[in-house]
């Protein structure tokens, strides 16, 4: 059983031994936007949703709790909540990874001494995206919180931690633990020791008493006492890490790409901690047992959300999938490129001031060309990230394994294969995030013998082979890069406040 605590909803999925989906229950939760740039969620609402969906999934599967071999938790990363150790009541709402309230704080912290050392220790660049700046913001801005935290009365948790603590008893003996992948997204964990780093805690001003114990992804060792008592909780992983695991990217150099609102690419770099020289993040892929597997991550901020923008803000299509129909009304982009730097560019550029643009407009361009440019933007952004990954690792990756809603776009998947010049493969089970959590949990419980056993469950549902002329590909890539450079130029010429 997997619990996938995502950004917009929480789902409970039951899988059988062949990794086939047996039952799915899902509930959405509210997003709060109290001020511009603030994004919050109610951790209690999320906990209540779990309380409903787990029994629902069991009913749907027609099984009882004792037939569940193990539970694995996977979750939206970086989002965290603080709560009172004695009452279990959250202190304010959970701050979501999309929240940018710490923009000024991040600029300020960036000038502090030791900032180079921070990146070296945690593998991440200082950004509003990660937990530590928001945690610091709360300690500074919630009245009485710091004193309470210093007394040891406050607990911190990413969503995995919050759910495990509640599932295992809450105030009456709940486990306060997290896994290495989630901890690796806080900016507080040292990548080499995989423990909270005193220097990082000092830098961000975080008392260690509020932090959970960090464990390997498959050594959570809990048991539910609430919701449905008696289910062993054996694993936890951040959602993108779970997808890497669910896609069975176990070899060094293998890459998965999840295409939803944004695009998330992770490359397995084996037991080697690779520090990126090309704008990627270093993170823990997963840790099953003693040794961790490291990963490089490149995130694309805007992928599917560009299609949504095309639908909602331009109104040129009625539903997102129709973008492909519109794109197929023309045979190429007509020389038009769209760089969707809506709130800056993520990997590998990391330029928060960049703004989006449409270039190459002539009177010839129609909505079909724009639709193509929208889809191609996701292709070229992927190419930039994969190039960076290949350069960091020194060996080119042989295939890209994909999942997520956008894999239904046939034109985009073919375009990905064309611009990467490697095959793009889609697995039969689309729910790779939940599957990854279930795999880690089942592996810990002995339900599956080893990684090889899991690999045998991976079946190919579709494969797109590269078919673009090399010369054409390089010309188009050069055009894309020029378009990206123009977004930098635009950023420079815009007065900043």
């Amino acid at each position: 059983m997997a619990i996938d605590q995502g950004t917009t909803s929480t789902r409970c999925i039951v899988f059988d031994q062949n990794a086939r989906l047996v039952a799915v229950a899902q509930r959405e939760h509210r997003q709060y936007h109290p001020r511009p740039g603030w994004v919050e969620q109610d951790a209690v609402e999320i906990w209540r949703n779990v309380d409903r969906i787990v029994p629902q999934a069991l009913r749907q599967a027609g099984i009882s709790a004792d037939q569940v071999v193990a539970m694995g938790i996977t979750n939206q990363r970086e989002t965290f909540v603080l709560w009172d150790r004695h009452t279990g009541v959250p202190i304010g709402r959970a701050i979501v990874w999309e929240d940018i309230r710490t923009e000024d704080l991040v600029t300020e912290l960036g000038k502090k001494q030791g900032i180079e050392e921070v990146r070296d220790r945690c593998g991440l660049p200082l950004a509003t995206y990660f937990s530590a700046p928001s945690l610091r913001w709360m300690l500074d801005n919630v009245a009485g919180l710091r004193a309470k935290a210093d007394r040891g009365d406050v607990l911190f948790g990413t969503m995995d931690t919050w759910l495990i603590w509640n599932l295992t008893g809450g105030v009456s003996g709940g486990l306060h633990v997290t896994d290495v992948t989630n901890a690796s997204r806080t900016m507080l964990m040292n990548l080499s020791t995989r423990q909270w780093d005193p220097m990082l805690l000092e830098f961000f001003g975080v008392p260690s008493s509020m932090l959970p114990e960090i464990r390997p992804s498959s050594e959570i060792n809990g048991r539910t006492t609430r919701v449905v008592p008696g289910i062993p909780i054996t694993a936890a992983l951040g959602d993108q890490h779970a997808a890497l695991f669910g896609q069975t990217c176990f070899e060094k150099g293998s890459i998965k790409g999840t295409y939803g609102t944004g695009g998330f690419l992770l490359m397995n770099t084996g037991t080697e901690l690779v520090r990126s020289k090309h704008g990627l993040l270093t993170t823990i892929g997963y840790q099953i047992g003693g040794e961790p597997t490291y990963a490089l991550e490149g995130s694309i901020a805007v992928a599917g959300s560009l299609v949504q923008w095309f639908r909602d803000n331009l109104g040129l299509i009625h539903s997102a999938p129709e973008i492909e129909t519109l794109a197929r009304t023309v045979k190429d982009n007509g020389g038009c490129y769209i760089v969707p730097a809506f709130s800056g560019l993520f990997a590998p550029h990391w330029l928060s001031q960049a703004r989006g643009l449409v270039v190459g407009l002539t009177s010839y361009i129609n909505k079909g060309h724009l639709a193509r440019a929208v889809l191609e933007a996701t292709g070229w952004q992927t190419r930039e990230v994969v190039d960076a990954m290949n350069a960091d690792l020194g060996v080119p990756t042989p295939v890209l394994k994909v999942d997520g809603g956008m894999t239904a776009d046939h034109l985009l998947m073919q375009f990905l294969a064309d611009v990467l010049d490697i095959p793009v493969m889609r697995p039969l089970v689309a729910e790779t995030v939940s599957l990854g959590a279930a795999y880690a949990a089942g592996l810990a419980a002995g339900y599956w013998p080893d990684l090889e056993g899991l690999r045998r469950n991976w079946h190919l549902a579709a494969r797109w082979n590269p078919a673009m002329d090399a010369r054409h590909r390089e010309d188009e890539y050069a055009n894309w890069k020029r378009a990206v450079e123009l977004t930098f130029a635009w950023a420079r010429s815009t007065p900043s406040n």
């Binding site: 989906l21 999938p321 129909t325 190919l460």
Partner: protein, 241 residues
């Protein structure tokens, strides 16, 4: 309401419409909003009057976007492939043939080629028979054309095809063994949009001895899986409309 708008000036205000049809204004407004949402009715921004919408003109041609159908059905197609162990295709009618809009590989990790965009014959495949069975114009057109023989089992006589299509409508699914390719068989069932109109078909294909029993009939368990998948896709189309 549509008939009223189709008559005379073609532009009417809410009160006019309600009064003409003997409806309460609230009721008329509710119906108009629904019709507006599906673009059967448009409202003039300046006068506030209603007229027939552009979507009515395309009523006969655009039932559901092919790429949208793929997107909505992808999970169910995967599930069908996982359960049946066979490759899955979703087809829609295009230009006198079955257009393959979605394809899932047989989950045995053998080398296979993605067949999205391929055209299959209507009369010789299970997908095609489903599309023919529920579209009177299409089957009438098929009757007028010569039915090409692809194997020695292909149905080439129109009367025979008619009988088979009646059977398909009766049982709610179609089968075919070695009518398209020697040694191969297929099973398919209809995908409907709300209102019941069949806009596509989902089906499996594979070795005839795997798909059929010793008497040459499609295996009941596989038929059930295909029909179930088609129903699930149909339900998902209702949910999101």
């Amino acid at each position: 309401m549509l008939r009223l708008l189709a008559r005379g000036s073609g532009h009417h205000g809410l009160t006019e419409i309600a009064d003409s049809l003997g409806l309460a204004r609230g009721t008329a407004h509710g119906i108009l909003r629904t019709l507006q949402r599906v673009e059967f009715v448009e409202q003039d921004h300046t006068t506030g009057r209603y007229r027939l919408g552009a979507a009515l003109l395309h009523l006969g041609t655009s039932y559901l976007d092919a790429n949208e159908l793929r997107s909505r059905s992808i999970n169910w197609a995967d599930t069908l492939a996982a359960r049946s162990g066979q490759e899955v295709r979703i087809g829609m009618h295009h230009d006198g043939a079955v257009l393959v809009v979605h394809h899932v590989f047989r989950p045995d990790d053998s080398v296979q080629t993605l067949g999205i965009g391929a055209m299959l014959p209507l009369h010789a495949t299970a997908l095609g028979k489903v599309l023919l069975a529920y579209d009177p114009d299409l089957s009438a057109a098929a009757r007028r054309r010569e039915l090409t023989s692809l194997t020695r089992r292909t149905i080439t006589r129109t009367q025979m095809l008619e009988r088979v299509l009646t059977e398909v409508r009766g049982q709610g699914w179609a089968g075919e063994a070695e009518e398209y390719m020697p040694g191969e068989a297929s099973i398919a069932a209809p995908i409907r949009i709300p209102g019941g109109l069949v806009i596509g078909a989902i089906g499996i294909s594979g070795a005839a001895d795997r798909l059929c029993d010793s008497t040459g009939r499609p295996r009941a368990t596989l038929v059930r899986q295909v029909v179930q998948a088609a129903e699930s896709v149909t339900t998902s189309l209702v949910d999101e409309n």
